[in-house]
């Protein structure tokens, strides 16, 4: 996920963010940005599943863990850019909004979209995650040892 080595890193990052965020949060920001880009639907929103795989012993060969619900949609803007949305859950509106944002991020509107939608989403999710990590850190065990090593 290094921007220097992976030419797709930026797009991966926003698609991942759109996949993981809460539908209600995206919808609120989408509405707030008042976006209504002219587009055609390449693939109508479709609810389906993805088989999640794990690895035996965390590092060995893959096995099927179970499925997760995913909704996808693809759009083409009037200006020609294609956008794809793959989002967790069963929200068709969210999948369409994600596809439209993916397409708009390839246009001159990218900076405006980033400021109005992606950055606030990112901040909110980072905040949620940080709170969780902080709570987990508070449950860290500090062992008292009679004889301690050199650390």
């Amino acid at each position: 996920m290094n921007e220097k080595t992976d030419p797709n890193a930026a797009r991966k990052a926003w698609l991942g963010l759109l996949a993981r965020c809460r539908a209600a949060d995206l919808n609120a920001l989408w509405a707030g940005a008042a976006l209504a880009p002219d587009h055609t639907v390449l693939r109508a929103p479709e609810v389906g599943s993805v088989m999640v795989r794990g690895r035996a012993g965390a590092v060995g060969s893959a096995f099927n863990l179970g499925e997760v619900t995913v909704t996808r949609a693809s759009v083409r803007l009037a200006s020609g850019e294609d956008g794809h949305g793959y989002v967790q859950g069963r929200d068709k509106l969210k999948a369409t909004q994600a596809a439209l944002i993916d397409a708009l991020m390839q246009t001159a509107q990218a900076d405006a979209i980033r400021a109005a939608v992606l950055d606030p989403l990112q901040d909110k999710m980072a905040q949620t995650r940080a709170t969780r990590s902080a709570k987990a850190a508070a449950t860290k065990v500090e062992f008292f040892t009679m004889v301690r090593g050199e650390d």
Binding site: L42, R43, A44, R76, D82
Partner: protein, 186 residues
């Protein structure tokens, strides 16, 4: 992926696929019957009917074999985007697409005694499909039916393999017909 590959799928997938499935099921259940299928527009040289059969029956778990005349980047991209089906050699194919000359004689799986369904369904691209030439008899046919087949010997040999064997869907333009392994050809 080329931009064209992303268009030409079912506009309303659940309904279009259900209609197409119904037609494919009918032609398979009544060999000799010819139906017209609509709702998808695949890239050339895939016929509309062959494209719709793929859209309807394929998914990421049905490997597809493309014969040389159909193995074009535009076709591959279109199938990948709209069905997710992987591509494979003849020996692993769940579905195969091509002209009869290209497909006949290839080592497609014919199923096993335990799982006769683990066989390939050939989508045979034809110039035209008409109710002429070969006489068909067997399940789903009242007395007899006729269908334009590329040949008879191979289908006779295939029927002898029953319950194993290949099933065939014939496609031309927007028309589709079928010849399952149960049909006796003369």
């Amino acid at each position: 992926m080329q931009a064209d590959a992303l268009s030409g799928g079912f506009a309303n997938a659940p309904i279009d696929a259900a209609h197409a499935f119904r037609h494919i099921m009918q032609v398979m259940a009544e060999p000799g019957r010819i139906e017209t299928v609509t709702g998808g527009t695949p890239p050339a040289p895939l016929s509309q009917a062959a494209g719709i059969v793929l859209l309807t029956l394929c998914d990421p778990e049905t490997p597809v074999f493309l014969a040389p005349s159909r193995d074009k980047k535009a076709v591959r991209d279109w199938i990948t985007f709209h069905t997710g089906a992987p591509f494979c050699g003849a020996g692993d194919a769940a579905f195969a697409v091509g002209t009869w000359d290209e497909l006949t004689g290839l080592p497609f799986p014919i199923g096993t005694a335990e799982y006769p369904d683990r066989s390939t369904t050939l989508i045979v691209e034809c110039e035209a499909i008409t109710n002429t030439d070969a006489t068909l008899r067997g399940p789903g046919i009242k007395d007899s039916a006729t269908l334009s087949l590329p040949e008879t010997a191979a289908f006779q040999a295939n029927a002898k393999l029953f319950p194993l064997g290949l099933d065939h869907i014939l496609t031309a333009g927007d028309q589709v017909a079928a010849l399952p392994r149960t049909t006796k050809v003369s």
